[in-house]
Amino acid sequence: MNAPHPNPRDTGDEALKARLRQTLSQPADDTDALQARVLAQWHQFRPASVVTTSAGPVATLQAAWRQHPVLWTGALAALLVSLWVLRPAQDPVLEELLQPDVLTLISAGEL
């Protein structure tokens, strides 16, 4: 049994299409200036979310906080608790001096 012969016109068309595509992939004339313009346009229109300012410590902290908010909140809470626990004990003399004496209370009208 013979295999069906392809239609010569179809074969010719496919050859034409292949040659057209091949021609398109040949190096074109100088397109450097156009490429530069296209890239400048891309810079202008790229998503704002990725145009982060990485200059300065505040921007760095903000970026770090955005990336790991839970971690940074936990670290901040731990720091505050540590500061509270390790706070210096009050001086008893200073505490006594800060107590209002009887004369002050009388003059303030509280006694």
């Binding site: 091949q22 074109a28 790229r46």
Partner: protein
């Protein structure tokens, strides 16, 4: 997702190296295509620039599973088509359309040897000698994988007219290539 589409995605997310890679790869091909459809170099450049804007703003659902290069060819062809419509070179007037379709009566079997030795400047010259509708039909068929029904829809003509238009365009191109000096 193919690696091309992954690069496109990265570029759309703001990754500069990916954008540079895509622009370097797609621009020469897009310019070659636009030059086949639009006579003036500056207009072809504008069409390519507009096409990249469309590419950056494309939605994945627009692509319909096409390869990135084919999808981009479709955008370029559409930009060129808009330009031709603005310049009223793509009239949908039925009488003018019939005139264009019948403009070249095909002579079968000619032009294959000319197609064998094809280079970009010869092809551009031969394409630009065809009527705008024939150029559009050929470009959609060759570079955007469009079939007759898609060409018909895009050019706002019926399928039979699109079939004739494409057939005559192929014949006219083959003949034009024979007449165009290397």
């Amino acid at each position: 997702m193919s690696s091309d589409w992954a690069v496109w995605h990265a570029a759309c997310q703001g990754h500069e190296a990916s954008a540079v890679q895509l622009v370097r790869r797609l621009t020469p091909q897009a310019m070659g295509l636009a030059r086949q459809l639009l006579p003036r170099w500056e207009d072809a450049e504008d069409a390519v620039q507009e096409s990249f804007l469309r590419l950056w703003g494309a939605q994945p659902s627009d692509t319909r599973g096409a390869a990135l290069a084919t999808y981009f060819n479709t955008i370029v062809i559409n930009r060129c088509k808009s330009w031709l419509v603005r310049r009223q070179e793509l009239s949908t007037d039925p009488e003018q359309l019939a005139e264009w379709i019948d403009a070249d009566s095909p002579r079968e079997g000619s032009g294959e040897s000319a197609v064998e030795a094809l280079d970009a400047p010869r092809l551009q010259a031969a394409m630009l000698r065809l009527p705008a509708r024939q150029r559009m039909a050929l470009a959609m068929w060759a570079y955007a994988d469009a079939d007759v029904s898609q060409i018909a829809r895009s050019l706002d003509i019926d399928a039979n007219a699109a079939h004739q238009l494409l057939h005559r365009a192929k014949s006219a191109l083959r003949r034009g290539l024979q007449e165009t000096p290397s």
